[in-house]
């Protein structure tokens, strides 16, 4: 069963008659192909981006995305209006993308130990400062590559929350709903991912040899 469950401490999000401005949810759920195509047109770009972050290959991302829409169409009768339609759709896509990665296991992200090393250090309760200078950033194209490579190095759970929340700019509650975790768990995961990325980017842009290189083990 691929439908997403909202966290228990949240009231259910009841969809109104309209999914978005021009998509009629009642017609869509009744199997109106025209309404479904509107969803495909509206969500393809963002869904591709989320799936691509997980599978990390364009062709595979395209294939998984198409399968996501097909499964959503075939399972419309299992959507129970307990969440947003897009929450349900993205949950299907993320589950399929994760299954694809498990099958291929061709790419490796940071290990748990490496990820822990990227969290900030505390001396007792005091933050230990580290050098970090975004002003020294490279040219735009190079910076884009660096940022994307850094995201790709995160373990899968952290890559997904960063993509949903900071890149696709979904509200924390909706990201939590897609991942079927509580809002609190989503916030903790997001925080740790951001902190790890901060360290990964610092390591790239500075001369410091005390941090992990972004290209190490990639």
């Amino acid at each position: 069963m691929l439908s997403a469950k909202l966290p228990g401490n949240n009231p259910p999000v009841v969809e109104t008659k309209f999914l978005v401005a021009d998509v009629d949810l009642d017609k869509l759920l009744a199997g109106d192909a025209g309404e479904f195509e509107k969803v495909v047109v509206r969500e393809s770009g963002r869904l591709f981006s989320v799936i691509r972050r997980i599978v990390r290959e364009d062709d595979e991302a395209r294939s998984v995305m198409q399968e996501t829409f097909l499964q959503a169409w075939q399972r419309l009768d299992t959507f129970r209006r307990e969440s947003r339609f897009t929450t349900w759709l993205y949950a299907i896509g993320i589950n399929l993308a994760r299954a694809s990665v498990r099958k291929s296991s061709r790419l490796s992200a940071l290990s748990d130990t490496e990820f822990e090393r990227l969290q900030p250090a505390f001396d007792g309760d005091h933050l230990v400062p580290t050098e970090w200078n975004p002003a020294r950033m490279a040219e735009t194209a190079e910076r884009r590559r660096i940022v994307r490579d850094a995201i790709d190095r995160l373990p899968e759970d952290y890559r997904i929350i960063i993509t949903l929340r900071d890149i696709e700019e979904l509200p924390t509650a909706e990201a939590a709903g897609i991942l079927a975790i509580s809002d609190g768990a989503a916030r903790v995961r997001l925080h740790r991912a951001r902190q790890a990325l901060r360290s990964l980017l610092a390591a790239y842009f500075e001369d410091s040899d005390s941090t992990v290189s972004i290209n190490e083990g990639a």
Binding site: F48, R62, Q66, I167
Partner: protein, 92 residues
């Protein structure tokens, strides 16, 4: 009520760096209650390490937002619609 609040505030334990760090996401999402937000700001304003860390943290988010997005291939939507039609979507 305000007097009571001030009294409570005076005896409220001050935040450590570790405490402040744990509140960053909610602070940036504007999800902290007023009193906790004020305590968070008090700590950060007086702690150069946390001020610097918060700036770096926000810069990281800005970079993710401006440079992290992956462009979808231009023909993606057309290909997807064709794929779905070939698999029977829309056929009665």
């Amino acid at each position: 009520m305000k007097v009571l609040d001030k009294l409570f505030d005076r005896f409220r334990p001050k935040l450590t760096c570790r405490d402040a760090n744990a509140f960053i996401v909610e602070y940036l999402d504007n999800d902290l209650d007023e009193a906790t937000r004020a305590h968070f700001r008090q700590h950060v304003d007086k702690c150069p390490r946390c001020t610097r860390f918060l700036d770096q943290y926000k810069s990281t988010i800005e970079m993710l937002n401006s440079d992290g997005r992956l462009e979808a291939p231009p023909e993606l939507i057309e290909n997807t619609l064709e794929y779905l039609r070939s698999r029977g979507v829309g056929r009665s």
